[in-house]
């Protein structure tokens, strides 16, 4: 039997259409594979996809719902995008999101109903950022000081954050917990004063949550930060070539610490948005079930760590999630959302390689021949 092996050769020429065609092509392949999964398990892929598109984007109010689902993904996506850019693999967006929700709801409850709404919302944003930022500083400092692997530490802190949130509502008489009325029997969080409820802007056919607008503005700011400022330049150098950074007089550890805090702050604002704009209550179970932090990594990877692209990817994946909620029931397969997200990510990852390299099938003798060719 003749042995074949796949070989990757870097492409010397990148056609202009390729960077666009690859994500679109990958997405279509993912849908195709998803369709195969659906039909082999007795579902009609066309009707399932049609229902997803309908409930995500087309039907009445669907797009407003999609923006609600997209908002947390936008923030956790930005969180992962900036961190991964400098090679800080923060997969603690989940925990930082929860800490943001705890800090954000805490300040709103503390300020009460007697402050202007602007003050309440602004302090929630700030405190959410602080909560998430501090939580991300832990793996950041451990990485830079002790060279401790940030993947595992940031991940472990996700569980610790979930435990803290659960403790505040279910295991203690904390400030966050409703201690009167039905809250005595069924543990739940205190509802935020309505003054601290973030606005939703009505544009007629679509309602845009304030949090989503804020996320868009931040995404634009991050884009400028990365492309036009000295700090953004340092970020790219540290991410691309840490040793070069030192020669260039950049202190990689400082950049990593700053980016860790920034990344956590972004997820933290997402958490504040979650309580301020949507739930109006600290809900540990809801936060745990949603898995926004992990989905944020998918968003960042699909957006190729580009903050502006994160906005669009968040809307796309938010659409799938929203449709998943809307269609939940006996005739809509559960778990399909994760399957589709995973497939899209797999295909994009693979597709990007195909864009950068040519894949050649070659027998071992070819390898020797190419090795013998003069360089």
């Amino acid at each position: 039997m003749k042995r074949f092996r796949l070989r990757l050769e870097p492409r010397s020429d990148l056609p202009k259409w390729l960077p666009w065609a690859v994500p679109v092509g990958s997405f279509l392949v993912a849908l195709l594979v998803g369709a195969i999964v659906l039909s082999t398990t007795g579902q009609n892929p066309f009707s399932v996809y049609a229902r997803i598109v309908d409930r995500a984007f087309l039907s009445d109010g669907a797009f407003s719902g999609t923006l609600v689902s997209a908002t947390p993904l936008l923030f956790t996506g930005l969180c992962a995008a900036v961190a991964f850019r400098v090679g800080f693999f923060n997969i603690g967006g989940e925990g930082q999101f929860v800490m943001g929700a705890i800090f954000g709801s805490g300040i709103a409850l503390k300020l009460g109903a007697d402050v202007p709404g602007v003050v309440a919302v602004a302090s929630m944003v700030v405190f959410g950022a602080i909560g998430g930022g501090l939580w991300a500083l832990i793996p950041g400092i451990l990485k830079t000081r002790f060279r401790t692997n940030e993947i595992i530490t940031s991940l472990m802190l996700n569980y610790v954050a979930a435990v803290i949130a659960t403790y505040l509502i279910f295991d203690s008489q904390s400030f966050w917990r409703e201690l009167t009325g039905s809250g005595v029997v069924f543990p739940k969080g205190k509802v935020l004063p309505t003054i601290a409820w973030w606005p939703k802007l009505d544009f007629g056919s679509v309602i845009v949550p304030f949090g989503f607008l804020l996320g868009m503005v931040i995404a634009g700011w991050l884009y400028v930060l990365q492309r036009k400022t000295r700090f953004g330049f340092e970020m790219r150098v540290v991410g691309g070539a840490p040793t070069t950074a030192r020669y260039a007089g950049i202190k990689p550890n400082r950049v990593i610490i700053a980016v860790a805090a920034l990344s956590g702050a972004l997820a933290g604002i997402g958490g504040a948005t979650d309580v301020g704009n949507f739930r109006h209550i600290l809900d540990p179970k809801g936060l745990q079930q949603s898995g926004f932090g992990y989905a944020g990594i998918v968003v960042a990877a699909l957006a190729r760590l580009n903050p502006v692209a994160v906005v669009f990817v968040a809307i796309l994946l938010g659409g799938i999630t929203n449709a998943g909620y809307a269609l939940r029931g006996p005739d809509f397969p559960s778990g399909l959302v994760g399957v589709l997200q995973g497939l899209i990510l797999f295909c994009t990852l693979g597709g990007e390689v195909l864009a950068r390299y040519r894949v050649k099938r070659s027998s071992p003798s070819d390898v020797i021949e190419t090795a013998l060719e003069p360089a």
């Binding site: 398990t41 991940l155 472990m156 610790v160 435990v163 295991d171 203690s172 994760g338 995973g342 693979g350």
Partner: protein
Amino acid sequence: MSINENIFVVIMASAIFYGTPLVFASLGEVLAERSGVLNLGVEGMMLLGAVAAAWVSTNVGGPAIVVLPLALVAAMIAAGLGASIHAFLTITLRVNQIISGLALTIFAGAAGLSSYLAGIWHLGKAPVMHQFLRLDVFGLADTPVVGPILFHQTLLTYLSWVLVIAASVYLFKTRMGLHVRAVGESPQTADSVGIPVARYRYAHVILGGSFAGIAGACFSLMIVPTWVDGMTAGQGWIALALVIFGFWRPDLMLVGAYLFGALSSLSLTLQARGFHISTAFLAALPYVMTIVVLVIASNASSRRQLGAPAALGKPYEREER
């Protein structure tokens, strides 16, 4: 009250019971990592294994002695297939291992393929038909102290012990094991002496994945024992930490796994005995412990001495030699 109801005996015995899936999962991960491939998809692969095992145990007719091994094989195949996606992406296409592993967990995990399949197969409505029960080995289960700890476990626990020994011998005493470690330390060198790097990596990522499948089966056939969405509850991530905790050595990982098993069963045991202790504190303890151990481990004089494969996480490109 007999000595076997002593709280330390109870905790030790349940530490081994609850630590068993961690042993399998971390053992699988160490095989992949020793060959140089980090696989963050453990959690997802475990859930694939758990759902496949639950399906076989619920739907395949026959005596337990036939069905249970079949269920384990199904779990290994399901999780191994998941691992092979990661292997293809990271070894052949040289995709970032972290992102690919996370993609696998999202694809297969709690809101993904595992719960999709469970929904289609109508699992979780009732306990599985066959499960791994505690055995009375050599009739020694009632022996004071060691009885409940060592001789009153399920077959899966004993299987895990065999595999820990086998993996230790394989990695450190055989020629193939040496090759695996060479591939993980320096693929260039391994390649230059004719060790097929890619083939070794594929084999160990997929074999490691199938171990994660058994770990998942521990949940659906032993601990719970039925299907619950996301039933592994983050244990796959703990397994990743355990590999570092155990310095990439199967024997130390076993100790670590039981330590974590003890911590996760501690709150149940203590509360059953009427101790008033904050469940939140106990729940957070394993995670905080992992961080502390990691800091100590990473700050020790030399990471290489601890066993971290030098080429871990790095794709191997022959052309770059």
